[in-house]
Symmetry: C2
Subunit: 424 residues, 2 copies
């Protein structure tokens, strides 16, 4: 299909989707929570009913993936079966059960001239979401946006295009029967590269763009986008061990943060150990890490206490996403803070100390989204925070920072009431 | 000075400012409200002490402006004298007296596993501000950023470069004596065009960029920026008169919103009148507007009731910033809402009605930052909202929408405390 489209046709097709989405966004903004929840439940049912056709579409993606020699891990992420489709459908019902943030009164006050000002939560409008292989994102992202009153334009990767189309079709047809405005959820039906550029520049229709995927994708969106971008680059997370730390707790948290799931963004990548506790702590933690087959790369002082591969400068800036840990001995908490502010990706950091005033200082002086005291960084997560559902983790500092859920998919509006006030 | 700089030298000089600002931002984030206020008061005094040298520098800008045949209005905006410098200094003291948002607890909660989560207000970091002729912005913007714990890199227009340098120098030297970190307030000392591009792409150091000026400047920043942009495009503001409106109140509000200060972004540009009240209301409002010399451009139905120049399609999308008003008769409130959502710049709109449920619907269905019921749109302003000081009005929907003050110059950080929680 896409082979036959000229750049002009791609642009005009995506602009038409933008126009439709903008129109749908006005209708969505006025739906009640009950109306949106009824649509969501209908969409969950529609997805279940479409299990056979979604699996059939997925088979096409899997065959193409095998032909293109995708890795086993990628093929697994791509694969859909009845139980995975059921999980997506239950996810939709879970979102239906969450509180609707739209209409919430954020604050209100009176002015001396008698005007009354309310700051009210409203949807953002139209959100573009660009993602890579996992087809479940088609549903997860569209559903969170719908719950928060936003229209979405989705652009998935070519590996999952058949699955994405089948899922989007099931959501749209079941949703529209239940009152989903036309154009509220749209999937770009082709995967030409130009479609990313066209979306990123379509600020007349798109209020926000969220790229979800590898650095190349995020970079391409950031450099071209004319509208706000919420993104997630690296997770280079640190844990710092203060001299007064409970060494047993420190060891358990380090092992958990590094090994419980090394492939995720909130896993530990660099351990900083105060020089006054290094001689005792490093051998203990090294032993525990070795039983989990973790490769240790250490600074010179680390290597005076334990066996380790010499760390290079590049190690301090690397997100391994693997069972590798960089360790550095530092002179002081100041040094730990400087190291982290210089090398961290501002995602999540942790201090292990028994002194809460030391912990407060560490938190205050770090420029990171999440700072933990005596807790594994693996808890930097929307579900662990109690948000019910998460659209991602933002390493940006504006609008949404850290785990991002329904509230972060809203904006606000000032509503001002008076009885004829003028400036004259 | 600037003539001798190569693009590489400009890039390297601005990157060096970025590095310094980033370092300063860490120091700023740890200053207490008292420390920041003491610095601000010292800066106000320093500015007063430097009155002579600032006026002398301003004379150079004014002469250059006269040579370049700037308009009288532009020369007036550029001019500084002792009383204007005193006003800038008092403005700094007023900012010192405002509450410091940094450190505010936005929310906190416990999780079933015993971790405690706090969401705390923190500075954004380093903010780039690009502005045009008014030299007072050098102080106003730097001071609001400092109060909220942010470092600033300022880039002013070439018309005011001597004045801007003198003001920045006075602020820096008085501030540093009182504890302002080096690099916390920096002005790019040259005005080459490349400096805008370099700033907009310097996302390794800059967390936010705010362009303040004409559409060309904002457009240039939006198309090049790699970091979040908070901007202000047009103010195409509407007022809609519902059939049940108090006609006297409606007339006063329309005249105020159009004529009290026509050159500002929250002034009225398009009046929408319901057909059922048009025959009575239009002659009344037209008479009042004519006494204020307002030119009326009307749709055909408007012209059946009053004398008016025929409005063209372009009128509905024009920000006049002048004593010109476009008037359209609409069939219904639905038509008014559609017209506004299609033509407004999402800044400020108003409805005049005695029915608060009609007003609620109007507000809910409009996609604008500020919606007014029986109040002039001229109140869309940080000072009128009680914010104490305003850095501008955002027509964006993310992070900051509408009048933008100290709170909108902050981000947040999650601080999570536990006693050894792990995921394993």
């Amino acid at each position: 299909m896409s082979e036959s489209l000229t750049p002009e046709q791609i642009t005009s097709a995506i602009h038409e989707m933008g126009r439709l989405a903008k129109r749908a966004s006005y209708a969505l903004a006025t739906l009640s929570a009950d109306q949106k929840n009824a649509i969501l439940r209908a969409m969950a049912e529609g997805l279940r009913d479409a299990t056979d056709s979604i699996v059939a579409a997925n088979v096409l993606d899997i065959s193409a993936g095998e032909e293109n020699e995708l890795s086993a891990a990628m093929l697994d992420r791509l694969r859909l079966d009845a139980s995975r489709i059921e999980a997506i459908a239950s996810g939709i019902e879970q979102v239906a059960s969450l509180a609707d943030p739209v209409g919430d009164l954020i604050s209100e006050w009176d002015r001396p001239n008698g005007i009354h000002i309310q700051q009210v939560r409203v949807p953002i409008g139209v959100i573009g979401i660009i993602f890579e292989s996992r087809p479940n994102v088609t549903s997860d992202a569209a559903v969170l946006c719908l719950k928060s009153g936003n229209a979405t334009i989705l652009r998935g990767g070519k590996e999952a295009i058949h699955s994405n189309r089948a899922i989007a079709h099931a959501l749209q047809s079941a949703g529209e029967t239940a009152g989903l405005p036309e154009g509220a959820i749209q999937l770009i039906p082709f995967t030409d590269r130009e479609s990313v550029s066209v979306l990123a520049q379509m600020d007349q229709f798109l209020d926000l763009i969220i790229p979800r995927g590898g650095k190349g994708l995020v970079e391409a969106v950031v450099s071209q986008a004319r509208m706000p971008v919420i993104k997630h680059y690296d997770g280079i997370c640190h844990t710092y061990i203060h001299p007064d730390a409970d060494r047993n707790m420190a060891r358990k948290i380090v092992v958990d943060a590094k090994t419980q799931k090394p492939s995720v963004c909130n896993a530990l990548e660099t351990l900083l150990v105060h020089q006054d506790i290094a001689a005792q702590f490093l051998p203990e933690v090294a032993e525990s890490l070795r039983t989990k087959s973790v490769e240790i790369r250490g600074c010179e002082r680390t290597r005076s206490h334990i066996d380790a591969i010499p760390a290079t400068d590049a190690d301090w800036d690397t997100e391994y996403l693997d069972t590798i840990l960089a360790i550095r001995v530092v002179d002081s908490i100041e040094d730990a803070i400087s190291h982290i502010n210089a090398h961290s990706s501002q995602h999540s950091e942790c201090i292990i100390t028994e002194d809460s005033s030391v912990a407060s200082r560490f938190m205050r002086e770090l420029d990171s989204a999440c700072v933990f005291h005596n807790v594994s960084t693996r808890f930097a997560d929307g579900e662990e925070f109690g948000f019910g559902a998460e659209i991602g983790i933002s390493t940006d500092k504006l609008h949404a920072r850290g785990p991002m859920a329904l509230k972060e998919l809203t904006s606000y509006q000032y509503r001002i009431t008076g009885d004829g006030q003028t400036k004259s």
